[in-house]
């Protein structure tokens, strides 16, 4: 199971971070070409692939694979 962020299209809105039930997503320090900080999963082992982050992402940049 893997959560993939399409980082170059992220606008850093933070909805995935806000609504992650396990609070394991954070904004990174790096910026994409558009100048937005994008998220990463800070504790991959805690992710159960619930896909709520993808459900709330307004830019459809999150894919939850092999859940």
């Amino acid at each position: 199971m893997e959560v993939v962020f399409n980082e170059k299209r992220c606008k850093g809105c933070g909805l995935c971070i806000e609504f992650c039930p396990r609070k394991i997503i954070a904004l990174g320090t790096k910026m994409n070409d558009a100048g937005y900080h994008y998220p990463f999963i800070k504790q991959k082992e805690k992710c159960n692939g619930c896909a709520i982050c993808a459900m709330m992402c307004p830019d459809v940049i999150i894919e939850v694979k092999g859940a």
């Binding site: 809105c13 709330m56 992402c57 307004p58 459809v60 894919e63 694979k65």
Partner: protein, 250 residues
């Protein structure tokens, strides 16, 4: 909760022009997911609007039409009368639908036109920079209500669902929101019911979706979602306002 998620095939894989945290993206995605699940991608004609939803035809992966401001329900009527077995829906904001397009919306419902309207209500004109709309809340500051919307100057917020639900031609009328995952799930169900209502030939359907506009509200995306829940929902209550049972079932 279903596990795993991948992009609906009914969305074209390209970046969107929406501002960070704009709810249009979620609502676009829900429409696409429902069309995928109903297997209607090849039979769908989407009719866009003018405003922040203007590029819907560039984002959805099905046939699309860009109409003039407010006239989407009339355009959809023309399409549907020619192609009665297709899924024909409009995607309109509150300026487009509830101001300039009020007549077309109301009379589509009066005729029981077998189309669906997805109505995105963010309480103002987003694309032109945040002017007052008919849906602006009392006291809400916009660029054209700098002192807040007042009764004397601009009257009261327009409740579209409540009005349309009184019409015999309306078969399914619901209001949803996307300010948290539970509401996203409910709104998706409402969109699915609306499309199913149309495909069953039962008449006019509309799903209003309360939507955050962080940019023009001057809030961050999280604050904007809270504003929807705390300030919009009391004025625009969520739920189904009219339901016509679909015998085939969804």
């Amino acid at each position: 909760m279903p596990k795993g998620y991948s992009r609906p095939q009914t969305l074209i894989d390209k970046p969107w022009h929406f501002c960070p945290g704009c709810n249009h993206g979620i609502i676009h995605r829900l429409c696409a997911e429902v069309i995928d699940e109903m297997g209607l991608q090849n039979q769908t004609i989407g009719v866009g609007s003018v405003g922040c939803g203007v590029f819907s035809y560039e984002y959805f992966n099905f046939d699309g039409i860009g109409p003039s401001h407010g006239r989407a329900p009339a355009v959809a009527t023309g399409v549907k009368r020619v192609l009665p077995d297709r899924l024909v829906f409009t995607y309109q904001g509150d300026g487009d639908l509830a101001a300039i397009g009020t007549t077309e919306m109301v009379h589509s419902a009066v005729r029981g036109e077998n189309i669906t309207i997805i109505f995105v209500n963010n309480t103002l004109y987003g694309m032109t920079g945040g002017q007052m709309a008919p849906t602006t809340l009392m006291g809400q500051v916009t660029t054209t209500t700098p002192g807040g919307r007042s009764r004397n100057q601009a009257g009261y917020p327009f409740r579209v669902c409540e009005m349309l639900a009184t019409m015999e031609g309306a078969a399914y009328i619901a209001r949803g929101a996307v300010y948290n995952p539970a509401q996203v799930v409910k709104t998706k169900k409402a969109i699915k019911k609306a499309f199913a209502t149309q495909m069953a030939g039962l008449g006019f359907s509309l799903v209003e979706v309360l939507s955050a506009c962080p940019t023009n509200w001057g809030m961050n995306p999280i604050q904007a979602l809270k504003f929807v829940e705390e300030n919009m929902v009391p004025v625009f209550p969520l739920g189904e306002f009219k339901v016509t049972p679909i015998e085939a079932g969804v």
